[in-house]
């Protein structure tokens, strides 16, 4: 207990330091790298808070994918001089004002956090009571797929909308074509080697994380991220081309998860008497939830991979 508390006392300053570096450093590249380090430290913090599902999501999505997105954009915008650098460091008044604002807000939130009641009112009891009827062992999966499944449905649509938004920025002549720039890698190079070696392992790990999600930390979002990462690696090592935006198979893969979720939701109207409900009969809920999760994993993997790939820029060859 005390040793772990010592860990907290080291971890929290480290997190804050990484955050300050990410905000304060002049070098943009260093800022993004600090942000990724920050995300990984934050994942450890989530483990300390007993939220392993969140830790997985933070490491894979918050640090990993967000970092890749920022690094990729930075590479394309260049680290050279531009008007942001030409303007020089922000003025002193601005910095002081911003610091005062930040400090005031942080102090207000801190006061509110310290004033929260003990013991905390919470729903773990209600979740634990309702979980066995679903046949699940992981309460977080129960909340995501059943109790608050409506949130998750909307969230899956949000993810897809972000992709549509990115696609909407394509130059008109490139519509229907391939997203992103062409990647080049030496066919005998170490990257191509890794790109051939890792995908089988990654796919196994991804499917495993999806499968254990029902009972232990893991699930559709974490698994989808791993699968997307495998695919991004294969694209980066120039082993495969991303699919063309006009491809019907791609579009079906993108909508499959949310569409399946909606369909099961509508079925719930008849079978369970409530939209997004699962039939009360024993043994029905878990297979349905796994079905929805499988669809979501596929769609999330495809969507995340294409989010990173970016706007369509090349006509399909």
């Amino acid at each position: 207990m005390t040793a772990l508390y010592l860990l907290d006392l080291v971890l929290v300053p480290a997190i804050l330091l990484a955050a300050c570096t990410a905000v304060g450093t002049r070098d943009r590249f260093a800022a993004v790298v600090s942000f990724i380090v920050y995300g990984l430290l934050l994942a450890i913090a989530w483990v300390r808070l007993g939220a392993v599902d969140v830790a997985l999501a933070e490491a894979a999505i918050g640090a990993g994918l967000t970092g890749v997105l920022l690094l990729g954009a930075l590479a394309r915008m260049g680290r050279r001089a531009d008007e942001a650098a030409a303007a020089g460091p922000p003025g002193r008044t601005l910095r002081l004002g911003a610091a005062a604002l930040g400090a005031a807000v942080a102090a207000g939130i801190a006061a509110a956090v310290l004033a929260l009641p003990e013991p905390a009112p919470q729903l773990s009891g209600a979740v634990a009571e309702a979980l066995p009827a679903l046949g699940l062992g992981n309460p977080v999966t129960g909340v995501l797929l059943a109790f608050r499944g409506y949130d998750t449905l909307l969230e899956a649509v949000v993810l897809l909308l972000a992709l549509l938004g990115i696609w909407s920025l394509a130059p008109d002549p490139a519509w229907g074509g391939l997203p992103g720039l062409r990647h080049r890698a030496r066919p005998e190079g170490v990257l191509a080697w890794l790109g051939r070696l890792l995908p089988p392992v990654g796919i196994v790990v991804g499917l495993y994380v999806f499968w254990v999600g029902a009972d232990r930390p893991g699930g559709a979002f974490q698994a989808g991220t791993i699968l997307a990462a495998v695919w991004i690696l294969a694209v980066m090592s120039a082993l495969v081309e991303p699919p063309a935006v006009r491809s019907l198979a791609l579009r079906l893969a993108l909508v499959a998860g949310p569409a399946l979720f909606l369909a099961v939701g509508f079925a719930g109207l008849g079978l369970a008497g409530a939209f997004l409900g699962y039939p009360a009969a024993a043994g029905w809920a878990k297979p349905l939830i796994l079905l929805v999760e499988a669809g979501l994993t596929l769609s999330i993997a495809a969507t995340l991979a294409l989010l990173v790939a970016g706007t369509p820029e090349r006509a399909a060859g």
Binding site: V190, L194, V201
Partner: protein, 97 residues
């Protein structure tokens, strides 16, 4: 405290020492190549020792296999990334940055 516990303690402590050494190298060495050297070599060994130390405490054979897989994947990633970073540094010629 059993012998296995002592083994775990010793191995993890040794692993942590190598991690520390790697980090000191990262901070103190002069250029990209020597930093990479410190980071990958020391950290890979450190992680290996920590995994070794945790093996006796793993949940069954499957758990132990997972731990070893973690080490192997980290080795693979470190080796590849070190290669890529080194090549980029050589091409851009700013190895001293």
């Amino acid at each position: 405290m059993s012998a296995w516990d002592l083994f775990t303690l010793a191995a993890v402590a040794a692993g942590a020492f190598f991690f520390l050494a790697g980090t000191v190298g990262l901070l103190r060495f002069p250029d990209v190549f020597t930093r990479l050297h410190a980071l990958t070599k020391a950290d890979n060994l450190g992680l290996g020792l920590i995994v070794l130390g945790l093996l006796p405490r793993a949940e069954g054979v499957f758990g132990a296999l997972k731990l070893v897989a973690v080490w192997l994947l980290a080795l693979l990633a470190a080796a590849t990334v070190a290669q890529l970073v080194a090549r980029l540094a050589r091409r851009e010629g700013d190895a001293g940055a």
